[in-house]
């Protein structure tokens, strides 16, 4: 009897217990799964927080959704990798200005037995054509993310329409980068991924990078402070502090210093 | 010979009581139809203050329905019930208490069952405690006060149900076959409890199909057949020299079951 009378009290106590302290100032960053999954933020953000006392909270979603969320005012900073969408975001008045921060590159990963025979190619459009010809399974993000948009640009550069194979060899996962890689590994499929996510990815099994080095695989990241005139709750001042730091020599060095298994994942290129 | 003389005195006393006790409840032309079935119809009866009225009849005669009509648990389709001189309304249960064939025990202790009934009727503090203690003692359940009510035996549960009904001090106690599923020993204790209630001035209306019980407890008898009043009157008269065929047949053990007729 005593115990079950106590239960509601315990529940009430749990509920009323202070939720995580928010005494410190913080900004909210809408970003992409590729930067989060690579572990970059776990390396970068503590350095900034220690310096300024400002916490950075990251919501990691696809580039498309990150932009939508930022348009709704649910974020102070947008940090993504799809330049045309970013420029439109600024042109529409949602962002103050866009700055380059860093780049890495996309790679095509595939199974060791390489059914399309594309391993070692440096021409990404030729590789994609081979995949289509061989009807080798290709796992696409299919989620309107930065990587997905880059992939679609490459297919059209290869003058190949992958949607002919939709449902047979061309498969849209509708998921984030990591989930798509899990599926690709599981199905023995090819997939386009950013190099950083791939290097940090823990479930490679016998998948490996088959195509890399084409200049068209260049992947630029940009950062934008959300326009406080659209949404008054946006902390533009604090957000600008972060942007200023990340493009400063200090911030750029911190990006360059981040390595996984001895490999540098992102290359700073702010002007 | 002395027994006969005593009986005669009791009988005449009963007849006098029946005539002079003021009516506590009166039904006129009472009827009840549910889904096209006329379960009770054209019932006229008077429940007199301080008397024990037993409702008799074969299975399906409408005894339980009549009891629920008097208690306001079912709405009357026809006729009226006057309770303490006023039409039975929203406060039908005020001053009445009912005990069901299968006692409804709250999932609480014996004492908590009593306290709940008392609390609902607005009894607080020492008065509630006093009444609960009195009810426990009356039902002979003191030693079980802390036990969950639903682990008591059938007889104990029914005693608790009666004590709970009496705890709030009702004028009228309605009982629907309270001993139907009990053994003779348990039945005897229930009957003693009912006798005690009567002795303290509570008016009793009880449904039974047990002739012996009727003889032991009834001052007045109401006999139902097919939802109609076949005969009513003092128990001494009705059970020994009935006027109606139905009661005669029932007393001879020829009338068991009736089914209500369906009428538009």
């Amino acid at each position: 009897m005593l115990l079950h009378r106590l239960l509601p009290i315990v529940l009430a106590a749990m509920m009323l217990a202070p939720l995580p302290a928010t005494a410190r100032e913080f900004i909210l960053m809408q970003s992409t799964t590729s930067t989060q999954n690579s572990g970059l933020f776990d390396h970068l953000l503590p350095i900034f927080s220690q310096k300024t006392g400002i916490d950075v909270r990251v919501v990691a979603v696809g580039t498309g959704q990150a932009i939508r969320n930022a348009q709704n005012g649910d974020g102070d900073i947008l940090f993504v990798h799809s330049r045309p969408s970013e420029e439109k975001f600024v042109a529409d008045g949602y962002g103050l200005s866009r700055q380059d921060v860093m780049y890495n590159d996309f790679v095509i990963v595939g199974p060791a037995d390489d059914p399309a025979g594309i391993a070692g190619l440096t021409d990404v459009t030729a590789a994609l054509s081979e995949i289509a010809t061989a009807r080798a399974i290709f796992a696409s993000r299919g989620d309107d993310s930065g990587t997905h948009k880059a992939e679609l640009r490459l297919w059209s550069a290869a003058e190949t329409d992958p949607f002919i194979g939709l449902g047979s060899w061309y498969r849209e996962t509708g998921s984030g980068m990591g989930a798509t890689l899990n599926i690709a590994v599981g199905m023995g499929a090819y997939a386009l991924t950013d190099r950083a996510t791939w290097i940090a990815f823990g479930n490679k099994r016998d998948h490996r990078i088959v195509v890399e080095g084409d200049p068209r695989l260049f992947n630029q990241y940009g950062i934008i402070v959300v326009n406080p005139e659209k949404h008054s709750a946006v902390k533009a001042d604090l957000a600008q502090q972060f942007v200023d730091w990340v493009v400063s020599e200090d911030g750029q060095q911190a990006i360059a210093a981040y390595k996984v298994e001895g490999q540098q994942l992102f290359f700073p290129n702010a002007q | 010979m002395r027994e006969v003389a005593t009986l005669r005195t009791v009988l005449s006393q009963n007849v006098i009581d029946a005539a002079i006790a003021p009516p506590l409840m009166t039904a006129r032309g009472l009827g009840c139809s549910i889904k096209g079935q006329r379960l009770v119809r054209d019932v006229d009866l008077t429940i007199r203050q301080g008397r024990r009225t037993v409702v008799l009849g074969p299975n399906g005669a409408g005894k339980s329905v009549l009891l629920r009509l008097l208690h306001g648990l079912l709405p009357a389709s026809e006729g009226t019930v006057l309770w303490r001189g006023n039409p039975l309304g929203a406060d039908a249960q005020d001053g009445q208490a009912m005990v069901f064939q299968r006692p409804v025990m709250l999932r609480r202790s014996v004492l908590a069952n009593l306290n709940f009934a008392l609390k609902v009727r607005g009894f607080r503090g020492p008065e509630r405690a006093r009444r609960a203690a009195q009810a426990l003692e009356m039902a002979g359940l003191d030693h079980l006060a802390k036990r969950p009510a639903r682990v008591l035996s059938g007889g104990e549960q029914q005693r608790l149900a009666i004590a709970r009904a009496l705890a709030t001090g009702p004028d009228l106690l309605l009982l629907d076959e309270p001993t139907a599923s009990l053994d003779p020993a348990a039945t005897a204790r229930i009957e003693a409890l009912i006798g005690q209630a009567h002795a303290s001035g509570v008016t009793i209306v009880m449904v039974t199909h047990d002739r012996g019980q009727a003889q032991r407890l009834a001052d007045d008898v109401v006999f139902l057949q097919d939802g109609r009043l076949a005969e009513s009157g003092p128990a001494s008269t009705l059970l020994h020299s009935p006027r109606s065929d139905a009661v005669r047949a029932w007393l001879d053990g020829r009338l068991f079951v009736t089914t209500p007729q369906t009428q538009p």
């Binding site: 799964t33 999954n37 909270r57 989930a179 899990n182 | 409804v104 609480r108 609902v120 639903r150």
Partner: protein, 224 residues
């Protein structure tokens, strides 16, 4: 499990937040759902059947849909944006409350209705008023209702879709067990994801054990 064992600080933070969010949501759901279910279970009123149907249908609300609805409400450009609740544990509690309340209401409606069938005439006879009736039914059905509460807890603690959208899976702020599992899975760290899943299962087991033990001893002590 060694992966989890070597992660004390972060893990305990996530586990505590999971419990806090889910227990709070279940608590609020009970405050709303139990009286609601009891009223629909015990009283007859026009529109009762549609009300039951709606409650039963809402039990199957997809978490992602709830997450989206709550996101649209709490977004800076939504009607409740000024409160600044998006991407906070409070937002996650709101979303899970929306998910769990229909479960508590619909299941408790059934439990209370069955009990009321038994008590109805006795209560009318005793002169029990509507409020007393609801309170007494809920109290007397308390042990069956514990199972209802556990069902709600199970749904909330295992849910990822809604808290991911409205919480944002922000490290140290809104990361709970399920979103952490989703994150580790997407990093391809399947061992850690699985280990976290086992921890979640253990927590659910622990909560169930505590509640069932309490229920068992208390039930034996107060009714059979």
């Amino acid at each position: 499990m060694s992966l989890v064992a070597g992660w004390d600080q972060a893990l305990s933070e996530i586990v505590l937040l999971s419990l806090q969010v889910t227990l709070s949501a279940v608590f609020v759901s009970c405050l709303i759902g139990l009286p609601l279910g009891a009223m629909v279970g015990a009283f007859r009123f026009p529109g009762r059947r549609p009300a039951i149907l709606i409650m039963n249908v809402l039990m199957g609300l997809p978490p992602v849909v709830v997450g989206l609805m709550v996101y649209l409400m709490l977004s800076a450009s939504g009607p409740m944006g000024v409160l600044g609740l998006l991407y906070t544990p409070t937002a996650m509690i709101i979303a899970q409350t929306v998910l769990v309340t229909p479960i508590v209401a619909a299941l408790s409606r059934q439990v209370v209705e069955d009990l009321h069938q038994e008590y109805s005439e006795q209560f009318t006879s005793m002169g029990v008023g509507p409020l007393q009736r609801i309170m007494a039914l809920l109290w007397d059905a308390r042990f069956s209702l514990l199972t209802v509460v556990l069902a709600g807890f199970g749904r909330a603690v295992a849910e990822v879709g809604a808290v991911m959208i409205v919480g944002g899976n922000i490290n140290h702020v809104t990361r709970v067990m399920t979103t952490a599992i989703a994150l580790e899975t997407s990093k391809g760290d399947l061992e850690l994801a699985l280990a976290l899943g086992l921890v979640l299962l253990l927590i659910a087991l622990l909560v169930n054990l505590v509640v069932m033990t309490v229920r068992g001893t208390a039930a034996r002590a107060s009714y059979a």
